[in-house]
Protein backbone atom coordinates (compact mmCIF):
# COMPACT_ATOMS: atom_id res chain seq x y z
CA UNK A 1 0.00 0.00 0.00
CA UNK A 2 3.08 2.21 0.10
CA UNK A 3 2.68 3.17 -3.54
CA UNK A 4 -0.93 4.29 -3.15
CA UNK A 5 -1.64 7.99 -3.00
CA UNK A 6 -5.08 9.40 -2.23
CA UNK A 7 -5.42 13.15 -2.70
CA UNK A 8 -8.15 15.78 -2.57
CA UNK A 9 -8.75 17.40 -5.94
CA UNK A 10 -10.25 20.84 -6.41
CA UNK A 11 -13.41 20.73 -8.53
CA UNK A 12 -12.56 23.51 -11.03
CA UNK A 13 -15.59 22.71 -13.18
CA UNK A 14 -17.95 23.29 -10.24
CA UNK A 15 -16.23 26.58 -9.44
CA UNK A 16 -16.72 27.86 -13.00
CA UNK A 17 -20.25 26.54 -13.40
CA UNK A 18 -21.37 28.40 -10.27
CA UNK A 19 -20.10 31.76 -11.47
CA UNK A 20 -22.90 34.30 -11.99
CA UNK A 21 -24.50 34.26 -15.43
CA UNK A 22 -24.84 31.19 -17.57
CA UNK A 23 -28.24 29.74 -18.39
CA UNK A 24 -30.88 27.71 -16.67
CA UNK A 25 -30.67 23.99 -17.23
CA UNK A 26 -34.04 24.18 -18.95
CA UNK A 27 -32.72 26.73 -21.46
CA UNK A 28 -29.47 24.82 -21.91
CA UNK A 29 -31.35 21.62 -22.72
CA UNK A 30 -33.65 23.39 -25.17
CA UNK A 31 -30.70 25.05 -26.92
CA UNK A 32 -28.80 21.75 -27.09
CA UNK A 33 -31.78 19.95 -28.62
CA UNK A 34 -32.24 22.71 -31.21
CA UNK A 35 -28.58 22.70 -32.14
CA UNK A 36 -28.49 18.92 -32.50
CA UNK A 37 -31.60 19.09 -34.67
CA UNK A 38 -29.83 21.66 -36.86
CA UNK A 39 -27.24 19.03 -37.90
CA UNK A 40 -29.78 16.26 -38.46
CA UNK A 41 -29.72 16.41 -42.28
CA UNK A 42 -25.96 16.43 -42.67
CA UNK A 43 -25.55 13.69 -40.05
CA UNK A 44 -28.24 11.43 -41.47
CA UNK A 45 -26.89 11.93 -45.00
CA UNK A 46 -23.53 10.57 -43.83
CA UNK A 47 -25.16 7.25 -42.93
CA UNK A 48 -25.38 6.17 -46.58
CA UNK A 49 -21.68 6.90 -47.06
CA UNK A 50 -20.80 4.98 -43.89
CA UNK A 51 -22.96 2.04 -45.02
CA UNK A 52 -21.13 1.99 -48.37
CA UNK A 53 -17.76 2.09 -46.61
CA UNK A 54 -18.94 -0.78 -44.45
CA UNK A 55 -19.80 -2.85 -47.53
CA UNK A 56 -16.28 -2.21 -48.86
CA UNK A 57 -14.76 -3.12 -45.48
CA UNK A 58 -16.78 -6.34 -45.48
CA UNK A 59 -15.46 -7.29 -48.91
CA UNK A 60 -11.90 -6.56 -47.74
CA UNK A 61 -12.36 -8.59 -44.55
CA UNK A 62 -13.72 -11.56 -46.49
CA UNK A 63 -10.71 -11.43 -48.81
CA UNK A 64 -8.11 -11.14 -46.07
CA UNK A 65 -9.61 -13.76 -43.75
CA UNK A 66 -7.91 -12.01 -40.84
CA UNK A 67 -10.09 -11.73 -37.67
CA UNK A 68 -8.52 -8.30 -37.05
CA UNK A 69 -10.19 -7.01 -40.21
CA UNK A 70 -13.58 -7.26 -38.47
CA UNK A 71 -12.44 -4.20 -36.54
CA UNK A 72 -13.22 -1.88 -39.46
CA UNK A 73 -16.74 -3.31 -39.88
CA UNK A 74 -17.30 -3.05 -36.14
CA UNK A 75 -16.12 0.58 -35.99
CA UNK A 76 -18.32 1.68 -38.90
CA UNK A 77 -21.31 -0.18 -37.54
CA UNK A 78 -20.73 1.40 -34.15
CA UNK A 79 -20.55 4.87 -35.75
CA UNK A 80 -23.81 4.21 -37.62
CA UNK A 81 -25.42 3.12 -34.36
CA UNK A 82 -24.29 6.37 -32.70
CA UNK A 83 -25.77 8.64 -35.38
CA UNK A 84 -28.94 6.61 -35.98
CA UNK A 85 -29.77 6.38 -32.30
CA UNK A 86 -29.15 10.11 -31.80
CA UNK A 87 -31.87 10.87 -34.35
CA UNK A 88 -34.26 8.10 -33.30
CA UNK A 89 -33.78 6.04 -36.48
CA UNK A 90 -34.56 3.04 -34.33
CA UNK A 91 -34.55 0.24 -36.88
CA UNK A 92 -31.23 1.35 -38.34
CA UNK A 93 -29.76 1.71 -34.85
CA UNK A 94 -30.93 -1.79 -33.91
CA UNK A 95 -29.54 -3.30 -37.13
CA UNK A 96 -26.16 -1.60 -36.60
CA UNK A 97 -26.05 -2.72 -32.96
CA UNK A 98 -26.81 -6.27 -34.05
CA UNK A 99 -23.94 -6.18 -36.55
CA UNK A 100 -21.64 -4.91 -33.79
CA UNK A 101 -22.64 -7.96 -31.71
CA UNK A 102 -21.89 -10.30 -34.61
CA UNK A 103 -18.54 -8.83 -35.62
CA UNK A 104 -17.45 -8.63 -32.00
CA UNK A 105 -18.30 -12.31 -31.64
CA UNK A 106 -16.43 -13.26 -34.83
CA UNK A 107 -13.32 -11.28 -34.04
CA UNK A 108 -13.24 -12.85 -30.57
CA UNK A 109 -12.91 -16.29 -32.12
CA UNK A 110 -16.49 -17.28 -32.91
CA UNK A 111 -17.02 -19.23 -36.14
CA UNK A 112 -17.48 -16.67 -38.90
CA UNK A 113 -20.84 -16.69 -40.64
CA UNK A 114 -20.51 -14.53 -43.76
CA UNK A 115 -24.17 -14.74 -44.86
CA UNK A 116 -25.17 -13.30 -41.47
CA UNK A 117 -22.81 -10.36 -42.02
CA UNK A 118 -23.94 -9.87 -45.61
CA UNK A 119 -27.62 -9.75 -44.72
CA UNK A 120 -26.92 -7.21 -41.99
CA UNK A 121 -24.83 -5.02 -44.29
CA UNK A 122 -27.55 -5.14 -46.96
CA UNK A 123 -30.25 -4.36 -44.39
CA UNK A 124 -28.26 -1.44 -43.00
CA UNK A 125 -27.64 -0.02 -46.49
CA UNK A 126 -31.32 -0.30 -47.30
CA UNK A 127 -32.44 1.33 -44.05
CA UNK A 128 -29.81 4.09 -44.40
CA UNK A 129 -30.94 4.85 -47.94
CA UNK A 130 -34.68 4.68 -47.35
CA UNK A 131 -34.73 6.17 -43.82
CA UNK A 132 -38.29 7.27 -43.01
CA UNK A 133 -39.41 6.18 -46.49
CA UNK A 134 -39.01 2.55 -45.40
CA UNK A 135 -42.10 3.09 -43.25
CA UNK A 136 -42.68 1.45 -39.90
CA UNK A 137 -43.86 -1.83 -41.43
CA UNK A 138 -41.07 -2.00 -44.00
CA UNK A 139 -38.42 -1.35 -41.37
CA UNK A 140 -40.01 -3.88 -39.03
CA UNK A 141 -39.98 -6.61 -41.68
CA UNK A 142 -36.28 -5.98 -42.35
CA UNK A 143 -35.60 -6.11 -38.63
CA UNK A 144 -37.58 -9.33 -38.19
CA UNK A 145 -35.27 -11.00 -40.67
CA UNK A 146 -32.12 -9.64 -39.02
CA UNK A 147 -33.30 -10.65 -35.55
CA UNK A 148 -33.86 -14.22 -36.76
CA UNK A 149 -30.40 -14.34 -38.32
CA UNK A 150 -28.80 -12.95 -35.20
CA UNK A 151 -30.65 -15.42 -32.97
CA UNK A 152 -29.42 -18.30 -35.11
CA UNK A 153 -25.79 -17.15 -35.03
CA UNK A 154 -25.68 -15.93 -31.42
CA UNK A 155 -28.30 -18.08 -29.69
CA UNK A 156 -26.82 -17.75 -26.22
CA UNK A 157 -27.05 -13.97 -26.11
CA UNK A 158 -30.58 -13.44 -27.47
Amino acid sequence: MKNVQVIEVENHLAKLAREPGGRTIEDALRAAEERIESVRDISVASLVEKADLMAAATAAARESGDPESFGAIYDLSNAIFGIASAFALNALAEAAFSLCDLTDHFRSGGEVNWPAIDVHVDGIRLLATLREKAGVQGAESIMEGLRRVRARVLPATT
Partner: protein, 201 residues
Protein backbone atom coordinates in the same frame (compact mmCIF):
# COMPACT_ATOMS: atom_id res chain seq x y z
CA UNK B 1 -27.14 8.17 -9.27
CA UNK B 2 -27.76 7.71 -12.98
CA UNK B 3 -31.30 9.03 -12.83
CA UNK B 4 -30.67 11.83 -10.37
CA UNK B 5 -33.44 14.39 -10.82
CA UNK B 6 -32.16 17.83 -11.66
CA UNK B 7 -33.68 21.19 -10.96
CA UNK B 8 -34.19 22.64 -14.40
CA UNK B 9 -34.36 26.16 -13.01
CA UNK B 10 -30.87 25.85 -11.58
CA UNK B 11 -28.30 27.91 -13.48
CA UNK B 12 -25.06 26.53 -14.84
CA UNK B 13 -22.39 28.73 -16.31
CA UNK B 14 -20.23 26.74 -18.69
CA UNK B 15 -19.28 29.73 -20.85
CA UNK B 16 -15.72 29.86 -19.55
CA UNK B 17 -15.28 26.11 -19.18
CA UNK B 18 -12.61 24.50 -21.33
CA UNK B 19 -14.21 21.32 -22.62
CA UNK B 20 -12.38 18.75 -24.73
CA UNK B 21 -14.55 16.55 -26.93
CA UNK B 22 -12.95 13.50 -28.53
CA UNK B 23 -14.72 11.18 -30.95
CA UNK B 24 -13.38 9.23 -33.92
CA UNK B 25 -16.46 9.78 -36.07
CA UNK B 26 -16.70 13.33 -37.53
CA UNK B 27 -20.50 13.40 -37.46
CA UNK B 28 -20.61 11.98 -33.94
CA UNK B 29 -18.14 14.64 -32.85
CA UNK B 30 -20.25 17.31 -34.51
CA UNK B 31 -23.37 16.21 -32.62
CA UNK B 32 -21.45 16.26 -29.35
CA UNK B 33 -20.07 19.74 -30.10
CA UNK B 34 -23.53 21.10 -30.92
CA UNK B 35 -24.84 19.73 -27.64
CA UNK B 36 -22.12 21.48 -25.66
CA UNK B 37 -22.60 24.72 -27.61
CA UNK B 38 -26.25 24.49 -26.55
CA UNK B 39 -25.13 24.05 -22.94
CA UNK B 40 -23.33 27.39 -23.26
CA UNK B 41 -19.74 26.21 -23.80
CA UNK B 42 -18.15 28.83 -26.07
CA UNK B 43 -15.41 26.87 -27.74
CA UNK B 44 -15.38 23.15 -27.13
CA UNK B 45 -12.09 21.65 -28.38
CA UNK B 46 -12.77 18.96 -30.97
CA UNK B 47 -10.47 15.99 -31.47
CA UNK B 48 -10.87 13.06 -33.80
CA UNK B 49 -7.76 11.27 -32.63
CA UNK B 50 -6.06 10.42 -29.40
CA UNK B 51 -2.97 12.26 -30.68
CA UNK B 52 -4.97 15.51 -31.03
CA UNK B 53 -6.44 14.91 -27.59
CA UNK B 54 -3.00 14.48 -26.03
CA UNK B 55 -1.84 17.70 -27.68
CA UNK B 56 -4.79 19.61 -26.21
CA UNK B 57 -4.09 18.15 -22.77
CA UNK B 58 -0.49 19.35 -23.05
CA UNK B 59 -1.39 22.84 -24.29
CA UNK B 60 -4.29 24.08 -22.18
CA UNK B 61 -6.03 23.70 -18.87
CA UNK B 62 -9.16 21.61 -19.33
CA UNK B 63 -12.17 21.54 -17.02
CA UNK B 64 -14.11 18.66 -18.56
CA UNK B 65 -13.17 15.92 -21.01
CA UNK B 66 -15.76 13.91 -22.93
CA UNK B 67 -14.31 10.92 -24.78
CA UNK B 68 -15.97 8.45 -27.11
CA UNK B 69 -14.78 4.87 -26.73
CA UNK B 70 -13.83 4.88 -30.44
CA UNK B 71 -11.22 7.42 -31.55
CA UNK B 72 -9.75 7.48 -35.05
CA UNK B 73 -6.31 6.24 -34.00
CA UNK B 74 -6.91 4.47 -30.69
CA UNK B 75 -9.57 3.53 -28.20
CA UNK B 76 -10.99 6.08 -25.77
CA UNK B 77 -9.97 3.81 -22.91
CA UNK B 78 -6.30 4.12 -23.91
CA UNK B 79 -6.56 7.91 -24.03
CA UNK B 80 -8.10 8.05 -20.54
CA UNK B 81 -5.47 5.64 -19.22
CA UNK B 82 -2.74 7.91 -20.62
CA UNK B 83 -4.43 11.08 -19.31
CA UNK B 84 -4.66 9.81 -15.72
CA UNK B 85 -0.97 8.90 -15.69
CA UNK B 86 0.48 11.73 -17.77
CA UNK B 87 1.29 13.87 -14.74
CA UNK B 88 0.07 17.06 -16.45
CA UNK B 89 -1.72 18.90 -13.67
CA UNK B 90 -4.51 19.82 -13.27
CA UNK B 91 -5.65 18.05 -16.44
CA UNK B 92 -4.76 14.57 -15.22
CA UNK B 93 -7.38 15.08 -12.48
CA UNK B 94 -10.06 16.59 -14.76
CA UNK B 95 -13.48 14.94 -14.80
CA UNK B 96 -13.84 12.54 -17.73
CA UNK B 97 -17.10 11.29 -19.22
CA UNK B 98 -16.65 8.22 -21.41
CA UNK B 99 -19.32 7.78 -24.10
CA UNK B 100 -19.82 4.29 -25.47
CA UNK B 101 -21.85 3.00 -28.39
CA UNK B 102 -22.10 -0.78 -28.62
CA UNK B 103 -21.55 -1.58 -24.97
CA UNK B 104 -20.80 -4.81 -23.19
CA UNK B 105 -20.55 -4.90 -19.37
CA UNK B 106 -16.83 -5.56 -19.74
CA UNK B 107 -16.46 -2.20 -21.52
CA UNK B 108 -18.15 -0.37 -18.64
CA UNK B 109 -15.63 -1.90 -16.23
CA UNK B 110 -12.81 -1.15 -18.66
CA UNK B 111 -13.83 2.52 -18.78
CA UNK B 112 -14.13 2.73 -15.02
CA UNK B 113 -10.77 1.04 -14.54
CA UNK B 114 -9.10 3.33 -17.09
CA UNK B 115 -10.07 6.23 -14.80
CA UNK B 116 -13.29 7.62 -16.30
CA UNK B 117 -15.44 9.58 -13.87
CA UNK B 118 -18.57 8.38 -15.62
CA UNK B 119 -19.52 6.02 -18.43
CA UNK B 120 -22.54 7.01 -20.53
CA UNK B 121 -24.13 4.78 -23.14
CA UNK B 122 -25.42 6.10 -26.48
CA UNK B 123 -27.81 7.51 -27.43
CA UNK B 124 -26.79 10.37 -25.17
CA UNK B 125 -29.72 12.75 -24.91
CA UNK B 126 -28.88 16.29 -23.72
CA UNK B 127 -30.82 15.63 -20.51
CA UNK B 128 -28.68 12.58 -19.71
CA UNK B 129 -25.44 14.44 -20.41
CA UNK B 130 -26.56 17.40 -18.29
CA UNK B 131 -27.50 15.07 -15.42
CA UNK B 132 -23.99 13.65 -15.47
CA UNK B 133 -22.43 17.11 -15.58
CA UNK B 134 -24.53 18.28 -12.63
CA UNK B 135 -23.51 15.13 -10.77
CA UNK B 136 -19.86 15.91 -11.50
CA UNK B 137 -20.31 19.45 -10.17
CA UNK B 138 -21.09 17.88 -6.80
CA UNK B 139 -18.47 15.17 -7.06
CA UNK B 140 -16.07 15.32 -4.15
CA UNK B 141 -14.42 11.95 -4.65
CA UNK B 142 -10.73 11.81 -3.92
CA UNK B 143 -8.19 10.94 -6.57
CA UNK B 144 -6.37 7.64 -6.27
CA UNK B 145 -2.94 6.99 -7.75
CA UNK B 146 -1.63 3.45 -7.46
CA UNK B 147 0.32 1.02 -9.63
CA UNK B 148 -2.92 -0.69 -10.70
CA UNK B 149 -5.31 2.24 -10.94
CA UNK B 150 -5.24 5.96 -11.45
CA UNK B 151 -8.44 8.01 -11.28
CA UNK B 152 -11.30 9.12 -9.07
CA UNK B 153 -12.10 6.88 -6.13
CA UNK B 154 -14.23 4.11 -7.60
CA UNK B 155 -16.25 3.88 -4.39
CA UNK B 156 -19.02 6.26 -5.40
CA UNK B 157 -20.98 5.71 -2.20
CA UNK B 158 -18.97 6.55 0.92
CA UNK B 159 -20.62 4.20 3.39
CA UNK B 160 -17.45 3.25 5.18
CA UNK B 161 -15.93 -0.19 5.55
CA UNK B 162 -18.17 -3.16 6.41
CA UNK B 163 -19.33 -3.38 10.05
CA UNK B 164 -16.64 -4.84 12.24
CA UNK B 165 -13.86 -4.13 9.73
CA UNK B 166 -11.37 -1.40 10.48
CA UNK B 167 -10.92 -0.07 6.95
CA UNK B 168 -7.70 0.30 5.03
CA UNK B 169 -7.47 4.08 4.81
CA UNK B 170 -6.66 6.56 7.52
CA UNK B 171 -9.92 8.45 6.90
CA UNK B 172 -12.20 5.41 6.68
CA UNK B 173 -15.02 5.73 9.18
CA UNK B 174 -17.20 2.84 10.21
CA UNK B 175 -20.87 3.03 9.21
CA UNK B 176 -21.69 1.94 12.77
CA UNK B 177 -22.68 4.93 14.90
CA UNK B 178 -21.46 4.54 18.44
CA UNK B 179 -22.81 5.99 21.66
CA UNK B 180 -23.07 9.78 21.95
CA UNK B 181 -19.99 11.41 23.40
CA UNK B 182 -21.63 14.77 24.20
CA UNK B 183 -25.03 15.58 25.77
CA UNK B 184 -28.05 15.75 23.45
CA UNK B 185 -29.23 19.20 22.39
CA UNK B 186 -32.14 20.57 24.38
CA UNK B 187 -35.34 21.22 22.41
CA UNK B 188 -34.91 24.99 22.64
CA UNK B 189 -31.38 24.66 21.27
CA UNK B 190 -32.75 22.65 18.35
CA UNK B 191 -35.54 25.24 17.82
CA UNK B 192 -32.95 27.99 17.83
CA UNK B 193 -31.29 26.43 14.82
CA UNK B 194 -34.50 26.87 12.81
CA UNK B 195 -35.76 30.23 14.13
CA UNK B 196 -35.06 33.17 11.83
CA UNK B 197 -33.33 35.99 13.60
CA UNK B 198 -32.82 39.61 12.62
CA UNK B 199 -29.21 40.43 12.01
CA UNK B 200 -27.59 43.75 11.29
CA UNK B 201 -25.34 43.76 8.25
Amino acid sequence: MSNTPINKRERVNLSAAEVLLACGDPEGLNIMAEMFHGFGVHTPRRCLTGAEGRKSVEERILNLIVVDSALADCEGYDFIHWLRRCGIEPNCHAPVILVTGHTKPSQIFRGRDAGASFVVRKPVAPLVMMQRIVWLLNDSRKFVTSPGYCGPDRRVKAVGPPAGVKGRRHDDLSAHVGAATTPNLAQDEIDALFNPKAVSL
